[in-house]
């Protein structure tokens, strides 16, 4: 199984393209993976890395292009096809049965498992592989007792035993402790030495340069470059990931000097939050938003953005520190109270987090308004409708049919309903998470105008985004979030994208300008 000559192209793609609705996830991707190399795939969120790896594993079928294995064209209709050809993948969420032992989990994965398995024979084969590649593990232990690092070993062993030659790993270091990362890289080294090809996706630049042989960078569905790790440095990689700064269209830029109220409208001081499960702990956050100010928060996904938004909203309690809003200590206020005091919340996923799909547009508009429209045991529907119509018009959105269930609206229209509702009562603070993600150019411009309008009326905006261009255009101040902590603070116009990119990826220690 390990007779692949090194440095020979093992897996190749030619002109792979895949489109999801308006999003061109992969656009003519030509990619080569050699035997005996560790290949890192870098890029922003939405750059197309996941799509490419899913295509290579047969999980997603490309619209166009071809895949060659050992120089021969192959059709990967399902992951089963990919596995049969020796391509295996380790997902971010492990595909393991917690209650079963390590041995049973590996057996389950084998397609050639006989009706009556021979546990001893399989165990011998696993132990031989484990020893060879430094993946030693207790085969009889139930998987739920294993650390994350050991579970990852099981995933890799599964693939090796199923005779995979190409191993694809989606952000394998994201969940690992530093010593586990070291161990994983040693495993990579051992595998590479025997001719296996390893492709892994990551956001962390430093580890890429340390452990990869070759680095391919994707941006907006295309490959922007492929370099030898020995010749790469962090700056060039960041430039490749985030691209050239495009010149701004005239008129879009806000005047630089804007009056900002002296006292902050919203402030977090030394705020930390408890964690459970896969959440990111927020550590000692200092965030303040002044009246009329847009504070941008940059960071790669999973740096604590969702947690920060939930902390501001009141969904997540503070473990330490204080939260003030409009001059009052609101550390223990309920969400309803925060909203009534003038907080608007625009989540990343309007349909999933801010709307009730089965309820009508009218009923959806009535939610979250506090006591504003209470009338007896019911609601003052007329007043609600006229306020909401005004809000739709102020945003120049068409008013959707109020009786239709929200589930029947298009994604963009659901977002419009949520935006109109959240902006209807002159919010004092708008917490917006990726508000323009997935929107076309014009809608995105409308949303940005809406956030600016909230500022012009004296509100504050906390804008959480991954789009550095957007943050550069919008933010009066920029905070960089990494692993739940603010690692950089910049006033408007005082940051270089490269520097922010370095901070976002944790490649550079925090500096406060």
């Amino acid at each position: 199984m390990s007779t692949v000559p090194r440095a020979q192209v093992l897996l190749e793609t030619r002109g792979l393209s895949k489109r999801y609705g308006p999003v061109q996830a992969n656009d003519g991707v030509d990619f080569r993976l050699h035997g005996g190399e560790v290949h890192a795939l870098l890029g922003e969120n939405g750059a197309g890395k996941s799509t490419l790896s899913k295509i290579l594993y047969g999980f997603v079928r490309p619209d166009a292009g071809e895949i060659l294995l050992d120089g021969r064209r192959v059709e990967l209709r399902t992951p089963r096809d990919a596995r049969a050809l020796g391509i295996g993948m380790v997902f971010q969420t492990f595909m393991l049965v917690p209650a079963l032992s390590v041995l049973e989990n590996i057996e389950l994965f084998l397609t050639d498992l006989p009706r009556v398995p021979d546990p001893r024979g399989i165990a011998t084969r696993i132990r031989a592989l484990a020893e060879r590649f430094g993946l030693a593990i207790d085969l009889s232990a139930p998987v739920r007792q294993l650390s994350v690092g050991d579970q990852q070993k099981v995933e890799i062993l599964k693939l090796l035993l199923a005779k995979a030659r190409v191993l694809i790993l989606d952000e394998p270091t994201r969940v690992l402790a530093p010593h586990e990362i070291e161990a994983l890289f040693r495993v990579f080294g051992a595998l590479k030495a025997e001719g296996y090809a390893i492709l892994f996706i990551t956001h962390k630049l430093r580890e890429v340069i340390r452990c990869a042989d070759r680095i391919t960078v994707m941006r907006k569905g295309r490959i922007t470059g492929s370099v030898d790790a020995s010749r790469a440095d962090v700056e060039t990689l960041v430039a490749m990931m985030f691209g050239e700064r495009p010149a701004h269209a005239p008129g879009l830029e806000r005047p630089v000097a804007r009056p900002i109220g002296a006292a902050p409208i919203f402030e977090l001081r030394a705020a930390s939050s408890p964690v459970s499960g896969r959440e990111i702990a927020l550590r000692n956050l200092d965030v303040s938003v002044g009246a009329g100010e847009i504070v941008g928060v940059a960071g790669v996904s999973g740096s604590g953005q969702k947690e920060l938004g939930d902390l501001a909203l009141g969904l997540r309690p503070l473990a330490t520190g204080t939260k003030t809003f409009r001059g009052e200590d609101v550390s223990s206020w309920s969400i309803a109270r925060m909203r009534e005091a003038g907080l608007a919340f625009i989540p990343e996923d309007a349909l999933g987090m801010a709307a009730i799909p089965g309820m009508s547009v009218r009923e959806n508009l009535s939610l979250g308004a506090g006591r504003r429209y209470h009338r007896g045991v019911g609601l003052d529907w007329q007043r609600l409708e006229s306020t909401m119509k005004t809000s739709f018009e102020a945003l120049s959105f068409p008013v959707p049919p109020l009786n239709l269930p929200v589930a029947t609206l298009s994604g963009g229209n659901v977002q419009r309903v949520v935006l109109a509702r959240e902006m209807a009562h002159e919010p004092r603070l708008v917490v917006a998470l990726y508000p323009t993600r997935g929107l076309d150019f014009r809608s995105a411009a409308a949303v940005r105008a809406l956030l600016r309008g909230a500022c012009d009326r004296g509100g504050g905006v906390l804008l959480i985004s991954e789009d550095l261009d957007e943050l550069e255009e919008m933010a009066d101040r920029l905070l960089v979030l990494f692993a739940g902590a603010v690692v950089g603070t910049f006033p408007r116009g005082a940051w270089r994208p490269e520097e922010v990119g370095l901070l976002m990826t944790g490649a550079k220690e925090g500096a406060r300008a």
Binding site: S334, M353, I356, L367
Partner: protein, 349 residues
């Protein structure tokens, strides 16, 4: 063309669809059950005819249907209301017993009180008994400790034991009775009968409960909040809706209605507290609420249908010499037909 449009709207209207489904389900179930009767060597046509004569076609039979329907209606609302929040209440049976228990406790605490005091007391007691019993799983669920399905189901086994303790002990009748039951309630505690039949005021309470359920859910802002929780709990929380509070409240209100069903059986029919108060009304209520899809009119129809079916059991037993248990075959058939037409719980919900 306008006529066609009108017909199309009419055909698509909820009420018509529900009625059509009701008829379709009944027809298929009766057809399958006819095969069972044939297999048992009976003539299905004459069996159905006899059932019809003894239930719908006679005034006494019809009044008995309404008597049976009373607890079914309440038990169904007890399930339907929490289900709008995505909560599964399978504890109607236990809540029914605790309602009867609490109402009895009120009566035995003030045995000499006049009717104007006792009647409100038993109604309030009946509601509170079931409400408290259902609030326990509600609180456990709101605190994210125990799933409400499990807790309500398990409490079904506890409630009759509490009733049992009291009817074997402190409240046991002093009459020389081999049958474990409480002493009779004073006449002032009994719900008034209507139209000189066994139909009692509990029927009015049940119809009122159905109306309250509809108004609460469709016409009040609280109903919107509760439905929002059922529709998307994640969004509901972010919109500032007090999700844990509503979970407890909805289960308590539902449980209160089931408790009223128990009170109605005790104070309207048996006149004593017994451990055999309910032949499974709580569980039947669960089926009715699911079959009706939680719609008030559907609950009304389905409760009536279930009343006919249980009455048919008696008729078949007497006139055809079939065991009462054959109606379980009919019930199961209906359940399967409905589930098949919906694609099952796990799939459609």
């Amino acid at each position: 063309m306008p006529e066609a449009a009108v017909i199309a709207t009419f055909r698509n209207s909820d009420a018509v669809r529900a009625a059509a489904r009701f008829a379709g389900v009944s027809a298929v179930a009766l057809l399958v059950f006819a095969l069972v009767l044939l297999a048992a060597g009976k003539d299905p046509l004459s069996a159905y005819a006899q059932t019809f004569r003894h239930t719908l076609a006679s005034s006494y039979g019809f009044s008995e249907l309404l008597v049976r329907m009373t607890p079914l209606l309440l038990a169904a609302v007890a399930v339907a209301l929490p289900s709008r929040l995505g909560l599964i209440n399978v504890g109607g049976e236990g809540q029914l017993y605790m309602g009867a228990f609490a109402a009895s406790a009120g009566v035995f605490l003030f045995p000499g009180a006049p009717a104007w005091l006792l009647l409100p007391l038993v109604v309030i007691g009946g509601f509170l008994g079931g409400a408290v019993w259902a609030a326990i799983p509600g609180a456990l669920r709101a605190a994210k400790l125990v799933n409400e399905t499990v807790a309500t189901l398990l409490l079904n086994y506890v409630a009759p034991l509490i009733v049992g303790y009291f009817i074997f002990g402190p409240w046991r009748t002093t009459e020389n009775s081999a049958y474990p039951e409480s002493s009779p309630y004073p006449p002032a505690a009994m719900l008034p009968n209507l139209f000189g039949t066994r139909i009692h005021a509990g029927l009015l309470i049940a119809l009122a409960a159905l109306a309250v359920y509809w108004v609460l859910m469709e016409k009040t802002r609280w109903g919107i909040e509760m439905r929002a929780i059922g529709g998307n709990p994640e969004a509901a929380r972010r919109l500032g809706i007090a999700v844990p509070v509503w979970i407890v409240a909805a289960l308590a209100i539902g449980g209160g209605f089931a408790g009223l069903a128990g009170m109605g059986e005790a104070m309207g029919i048996t006149g004593r507290l017994r451990q055999t108060l309910s032949p499974g009304y709580g569980f039947a209520g669960f089926l009715i609420a699911w079959l009706a899809g939680g719609r008030p009119l559907g609950i009304l129809f389905m409760s009536f249908l279930f009343a006919i079916i249980t009455a048919a059991g008696d008729t078949l037993q007497i006139s055809q010499g079939l065991p009462y248990a054959v109606v379980n075959i009919l019930l199961a058939t209906i359940l399967f037909v409905v589930l098949a037409s919906r694609g099952g719980w796990g799939v459609s919900r």
